[in-house]
């Protein structure tokens, strides 16, 4: 297998991991909550995206609708649930989050919502495939790579160039102190959930199109895999999450492309995690 294929597969797989995990990292950074139900928000995004795509035939409308609805669901989860648990021990929101995830997933599986079946999301043609001198990038991969690129730039600008980004950074360092110097914490946290969940919704649509399948239990693997990514990256560090996403994708791709499935994909991920934590207990870029 050529270097080009390894590079391409690593970049796509890493982008997918990043889009799903970045919202979790943001939530953890500011609230120190392990937000398992994020995986359900991702599924909701995929479902809404597919429904809008079927209605309108427009991929872009579907993406926007998915991000809006997922973002709102994220805010509702924060204001309706976690908001009341901020002063509780961490185990309380964690368990609530697991329950919430299972509840939403079971609801989505009802016949009047997504039902038991997988559904095709045939929007791959929206993007062209690009032929470069050393190989071709198929259209679905062009989509993942460009949109992840856009999200990365946007996140970078928001975090470094806006007051909101500063407020998030301050709140992540010390929530009470940030509140006492006049940062509107409720607004900052709600916006944090809005953006993180909207990105999960976008990830749902992209993964749905990429694998041409959307279904109620598609959040099962991300619900635990995303945690490998954020722990590996250093809890709460967005750049760390980025690094971890691509490191994991690289390890998995290289192993599968050279020796094959000596281990299941997820086992590779956990081995990488254990190995890194042995030398850097705080994660790749954690403090």
């Amino acid at each position: 297998m050529s270097l080009w294929n390894i590079l391409l597969d690593t970049l796509t797989q890493g982008s997918i991991y990043f889009l799903i995990a970045v919202g979790l990292t943001m939530v953890y950074g500011i609230l120190k909550i392990l937000h398992i139900a994020h995986a359900a928000v991702y599924t909701i995004g995929a479902g809404v995206g597919l429904a809008v795509f079927k209605l309108t035939g427009s991929f872009w409308l579907a993406l926007i609708a998915a991000m809006l609805v997922s973002g709102l669901v994220g805010v509702i989860i924060y204001r309706g649930v976690y908001f009341y648990m901020l002063d509780q021990p961490r185990i309380v929101p964690l368990i609530t989050s697991v329950g919430l995830f299972l509840l939403i997933e079971d609801l989505l599986q009802k016949p009047y919502l997504m039902g038991p079946y997988q559904h095709a999301f045939p929007a791959q043609e929206v993007f062209p495939s690009i032929t470069l001198p050393w190989g071709t990038i198929p259209n679905a991969q062009v989509m993942i790579l460009t949109l992840t690129g856009v999200a990365l730039v946007a996140l970078y600008l928001i975090f470094t160039r806006t007051r909101l980004g500063l407020a998030w950074q301050a709140a992540a360092q010390d929530r009470e102190m940030a509140g006492s110097v006049g940062i509107n914490l409720n607004r900052a946290i709600a916006l944090n959930f809005l953006l993180g969940s909207a990105l999960a919704g976008a990830a749902g649509v992209l993964v749905g199109v990429f694998y041409n399948s959307v279904y109620a239990t598609m959040g099962d693997v991300p619900s635990y895999k995303a945690f490998v990514v954020i722990v590996l990256g250093g809890m709460g560090s967005v750049t760390g999450t980025l690094a971890a996403s691509f490191l994991l994708a690289f390890a998995e791709t290289v192993l599968l492309a050279s020796v094959g499935y000596v281990l299941p994909r997820d086992a590779i991920a956990f081995l990488v995690l254990i190995f890194v934590l042995m030398f850097r207990p705080q994660g790749l870029l954690g403090r």
Binding site: Y117, Q118, Y211, S213, A257
Partner: protein, 387 residues
């Protein structure tokens, strides 16, 4: 006065006894057949197809006068494809609902667990599409209408080398009992015929990202890729094979046999050939009735899982009609079954002493977004179950 009163009471009592006795003599209101299949959880799609298939069988039987004039009633519970839940459901079907016989519309793990309960209780059970060899070895009450993976693998081999003339073959196998049995039987057949296995790899259930593996298969340059898996893995395999430019003929098996495979794989499914026991182009009356009614009733195309569960109920109804409602009679009738025509995936020639069904197996090719007839395998050397 006192004695008169006593007499009246005695008369009323004796009348009640006579009435109650009379009731016992008359026909029961219905025959209950139990079904367990996963309608929630990761296997919900197959479990729902199984439920549909069983419902259609009951509809067919009752529309044709029931069993000796008695209606069939289906009792269904969800086992979520989990062995522990399947055991609970089996107890419920036996003790609470007192079913005459049961059908498994679930996966191998759950079916194995439940079959022990049915065997112990002496209630006959027919497995629809669970393929683990151990299921029927549980005991004399446990039967199966699905095709064993060893038979299907051999037929896949015959398809590859005898029908398609493959010389260099790549194997991409799903890492579970089903995939392993298929691959072993396939390999044995094709290597005996002089074909060469140029690539072999296993992948875990639920995998979505096959590009790294498919790129390696492409380098091995096979004529045929024998890829096992269920419809979601299969759809990703054929889509991504097209993307990486792997043009070898892909041969699948009944795991692909779902309208969802066609939907998810889209154009990439064209030309894929699978071995399966549901022939869409069959001119048999029961198969056409099944395919047509399934589509009308559920607004979905029928699949192998639904058809197999349909057949499991049909074959049980036949056995109850022939052998009565006692377990021994049902078991005896199944053992003596010959050329059973009322099966959507049939005909069933007979059951072997190991309680496996012997029947022809077909190959279907995807053309114009639908499965169509490609070949039929009827050679006893190929289709006879090994026990």
């Amino acid at each position: 006065m006192r004695s008169q009163k006593l007499l009246v009471i005695l008369l009323v009592l004796s009348l009640l006894v006579v009435l109650a006795g009379g009731c016992g003599q008359s026909k029961p209101k219905s025959y209950k057949i139990g079904l367990f299949s996963p309608t929630t959880g990761f296997a919900a799609a197959d479990g729902t197809s199984a439920l549909h298939g069983a419902e259609l069988a009951v509809q067919y039987i009752n529309d044709h006068g029931g069993i000796n004039g008695v209606k069939v009633e289906l009792v269904h519970y969800d086992d979520a494809a989990k062995p522990d839940q399947a055991v609970n459901v089996a107890h419920k079907l036996i003790e609470q609902d007192k079913v005459i016989a049961a059908v498994s519309g679930s996966y191998s793990g759950a079916t194995r667990a439940a079959s022990a309960v049915f065997q112990d209780a002496g209630v006959p059970m027919v497995a629809a599409y669970a393929v683990h060899p151990e299921i029927t070895k549980t005991g004399d009450k446990i039967w199966r209408v699905g095709t064993l993976a060893v038979v299907e693998g051999k037929v896949g081999g015959a398809l590859a080398v005898d029908k398609l003339g493959a010389k260099k073959i790549a194997l991409l196998t799903i890492d579970n009992d089903f995939g392993t049995s298929l691959a072993n039987a396939f390999k044995e057949y094709v290597t005996a015929k002089g074909a060469e296995i140029v690539f072999e790899e296993k992948y875990p259930l639920g995998e979505k990202e096959f590009r790294p593996i498919l790129n390696r298969i492409k380098e091995a340059n096979p004529d045929v890729v024998y890829a096992s898996g269920y419809y979601n893995e299969a759809a990703n395999i054929v889509r991504q094979a097209k993307e990486v430019g792997l043009n070898a003929q892909i041969i699948g098996q009944e795991g692909y046999d779902s309208p969802k495979f066609l939907e998810l794989a889209g154009d990439a499914a064209e030309g894929v050939i699978i071995t399966t026991d549901l022939n869409r182009d069959s001119d048999r009356e029961i198969t056409q009735w099944f395919i047509k009614t399934y589509k009308e009733k559920y607004n979905l195309d029928a699949d192998m899982v639904g058809a197999s569960t349909f057949d499991a109920v049909m074959v049980l109804a036949y056995a109850i009609e022939k052998g009565g409602t006692k377990a021994d009679g049902i078991v005896k009738a199944l053992g003596e079954l010959k050329d059973f025509e009322k099966a959507a995936t049939g005909p069933f020639y007979k059951f072997t002493p190991g309680r496996e069904v012997m029947r022809p197996l077909g190959a279907q090719v995807v053309k114009g977004g639908a499965f169509h007839f490609f070949a039929e395998f009827d050679d006893p050397a190929l289709i006879t179950p090994p026990w």
